[in-house]
Each structure stands twice: as C-alpha cells, then as structure tokens.
Amino acid sequence: MHDQPSVPELLEAVKRFIDETAAPNLKGHAAFHARVASNALATALRDLDARPANETSEAARLRALLNASDTASLEEMNRDLCEQIQSGEITAETSDLLAHLKATTIAQVEVDQPRYSGLKTALKTT
C-alpha cells in the first residue's frame, strides 16, 4: 500500500485545516466542538507514535508481575491482573504493582491529555 501521504501526514493536514481555517469561522458550540476535534487528532497522532513502545514495556512489566508466559497477550494479562486484584491475590501493597500501574498510566495520559495537572503531580513523585 502507498503511504504518501502517510496516516500522520493526513491527520496533521486535517488538524491544521481545523485550527487555521474551520475553527476561526465557527461560533459557540460548533467552535467548541472544533477545539475538541483538534485535540482528538492530536491525541491520535501521539497514540500512533507512542503505542508500540508503550505496549512493549507494559507487556514486559505485566509478564514479570504475573509470571506470565511469553505468548500471553496484553489484553489477557490485563484481564488476569484485574482478576487477581479483585480476588485479593494482588493488593496495593504487592511489590511493583503501584509502580507498574503508575508507569502505564503516565504513558497513557502523556498520549491522552499531556497537559493534565494530575500528570505533573505523578511525574514529580516518580
């Protein structure tokens, strides 16, 4: 498949159109939605960029935490983790749990909402 323009290039072009052409011509609720749309495209671009590396390190941490097999998928391991938290086998006191969840959530918020105040608080205590 061709990739000229690439997916990020297409998203960047649409985002630029919203920011520079569409949004300035909109008012009220439509202008608000244009800002939301632009932010959503920015999230999509960060997600495309960061997801492979983030998921690789999330999976490595989960494998160590759960002593899971090399073939277990990220989804399977997260379900397993949820079940073990629910059953009380793993708690907030379990070594490495909070550190894993914090690293995973920091990576997620850096993609979703990098300016969120709670992210700054988390980074200060890391």
């Binding site: 009220g28 609720h29 949820c82 749990l97 909402q113 969120y116 105040s117 709670g118 700054k120 988390a122």
Partner: protein, 331 residues
C-alpha cells in the same frame, strides 16, 4: 409538546401571572448549558426570570440518578428556607400551563465557568472567600430537615455507590486495573457510614454561581440524594474539579482547612482532611466511570458527537489521580 407558538403563548400568560398584570414577556432566549435540560432566560417590563424545562417539555430524566424537575424545585425551595444561597422558585409548571415539566426561578447573576473564576483578577476576592462560603453552604444543605422532601430522592451512601459504579464498570467488560485496585482499596478501607443527610451530589465549580464577592447561588440539584455529608465535601476536592489548579484542593480556589473550619463551625461536626480522603478517592473513581458512560454513548451510536468520543480519552486522567491518591495513602 405543542408548537413553538403554543410555547410562546403559554410563557407569556405565565410571565404575566407570576409578576403582575402589566408585565409583558418581551424576550425569551435559550441559554447554552446542560444538554439534559433546557434553560431559558425570560425578560420583560423590568422583570427577569429563568425557566428550567425538560427538553421539548417532555420529562425524561438524564439518568436514573436524576431526581426530576419538580423535585429539584422543591429542594431549591427547602434550601432557600435553610439559608442556602439559591435562586427563588417562582412557579412550578403544572398541566394547566401547557409547557411540560419544569419550573421558573428568579434570575441570579454571576459566573459559573471555572476558568475565569479561577484565573481572572476580578474574582480574586471571591477566591479568597469561597472555601469558607462553600463550607457554610454545605453545612446549611446538610442541615435541611429531611422530612417533607420529595420521595423521589434516593438513599445512597458510600458502599451503595461503590456497588452501583462497580456494576456499571463491569458491564463495560473493559479491564482497567487502576479502577479495579481503587474499588478493592475503597472496600477495604471504607469508613463507618454516618446518618444520612441531604447531599447536593454535584457541588463544584460549574454548578456554583460566583460573583466578585464569592458564592451567589448553588445550582443544579438534579443529583441530590440522601447520603453521607463527607461526599459533598470531597467531590469539590476531586482533582478534575480543580480545573488545573491542583495545589488548591478545594475546587482549584482554596485550602481544605478553610472549608472544613467553616463547615465544622456551622455544623458542630469535627471533620478533618482524613474524613475527606476516602471520599475523594471514591469521587475520582465515580468521575472516571461517568466518563466511561459518556464514551459508551458514542460507542453505542446514541450520541455520535466528537465530544462524546473524546471524553473516552479523559478516563486516564482519573486513573492518574487515583494512582496519586493511592500512593499518598501508602506513603
């Protein structure tokens, strides 16, 4: 629910009957705001009022937790008698009015949007006064006699809310380990429940009318219920409701000590920051699951707007807040 001109005619008749026989409705303007309810500004002959009405006049509560407009009017009335700053209810719509479900109240002036309240110079005195004013208002709300309040109000304490939100979360079948841990932590560390009081249920910037000197009016009573007074004190502290000003635990504008001192002085209670911590964790989890509910409206096709799509990527904000709270609790 009738035609547009039925609506205008009905409103005009009502406006005259609420004020005086010479009062003529000159303008009615739909204000932006809640999607769950219509808000109209009415004016004429020197009088101003606000109409809160179900969309199109048909009554369909936003969620099972919403109490409905007639009940909201009754609560605002009870709050007014208890000294809570609220608008004055002028009329509750009835069948003869032909305008559907809703009520008319006095118009109060001020700012409800968090950003200017938290950042603009003209609100600097308001910010300094607001924490204590919130403490006083919440003490007054929690002291409202519960007898005679609408029977549509639910009883919902901390453990009931955990169960309710856990059911919703499990229904989505999306594994979120942080939520799972918060659920288990909340259950393991739940404080003893207190005798139920009237709880506002959504006491935070956005639902508070503020002017240069501070709190003018407590709005949006549709999530009111009987529950634990600590719920309201903590909800305004949830980091999402600090709107970026994390260092000010109360709503982004003030310190918890100031709110609690005012609250304790007015109520005779002796709440400390520790009483707020558990409820702030619960409030943060609830807001996260509410964001999941709003995203679900997009995913299911019920509301295909970009806003509902994007809110799904705000769930992680509450996850990082929960991590910060869990870390602090285990420090």
């Amino acid at each position: 629910m009738g035609t547009q001109s039925d609506f205008e005619t009905g409103l005009s008749v009502l406006f005259t009957s609420i004020f005086d026989s010479d009062a003529k409705l000159e303008a009615h303007t739909r204000l932006s705001g809640g999607a769950s309810q219509e808000t109209w500004a009415l004016s004429g002959s020197g009088h101003d009022a606000i109409l809160r009405r179900a969309p199109g006049g048909t009554s369909a509560a936003r969620s099972s937790a919403a109490i409905g407009l007639p009940a909201e009017a009754a609560l605002i009335d009870a709050a007014s008698k208890a000294g809570v700053p609220v608008p004055k209810v002028l009329h509750v719509l009835n069948d003869a009015d032909g305008l559907g479900d809703g009520f008319i109240m006095s118009r109060v002036y001020g700012e409800t949007i968090a950003r200017p309240i938290l950042r603009n110079d003209e609100f600097s005195n308001a910010r300094a006064a607001l924490s204590a004013q919130c403490g006083q208002a919440l003490a007054a709300i929690h002291a409202i006699p519960t007898t005679g309040l609408p029977d549509t109000l639910q009883v919902s304490g901390g453990l009931e809310q955990i169960a309710q939100y856990e059911t919703i979360y499990r229904g989505f079948d999306v594994p979120r380990p942080v939520f799972e841990l918060a659920l288990q932590w909340l259950k393991a560390n739940a404080p003893d429940p207190l005798d139920p009081v009237l709880v506002h249920g959504d006491f935070r910037l956005g639902n508070l009318m503020v002017d240069e000197s501070g709190l003018v009016s407590v709005l949006d009573w549709e999530l009111a219920h009987f529950g634990d007074p600590r719920e309201d004190l903590a909800w305004v502290c949830v980091n999402s409701w600090r709107f970026g000003q994390s260092h000010n635990r109360v709503g982004g504008f003030g310190q918890l000590e100031d709110m609690l001192n005012a609250y304790n002085a007015a109520s005779g209670r002796a709440f400390t920051a520790k009483d707020v911590d558990w409820w702030e964790m619960l409030g943060t989890l609830k807001w996260g699951i509410m964001c999941m509910i709003m995203y679900e409206a997009f995913r299911s096709g019920a509301d295909p707007s970009v806003e509902r799509a994007a809110i799904g990527r705000r769930v992680s904000e509450t996850e990082i807040d929960l991590i910060n709270l869990l870390e602090a609790a285990h420090a």
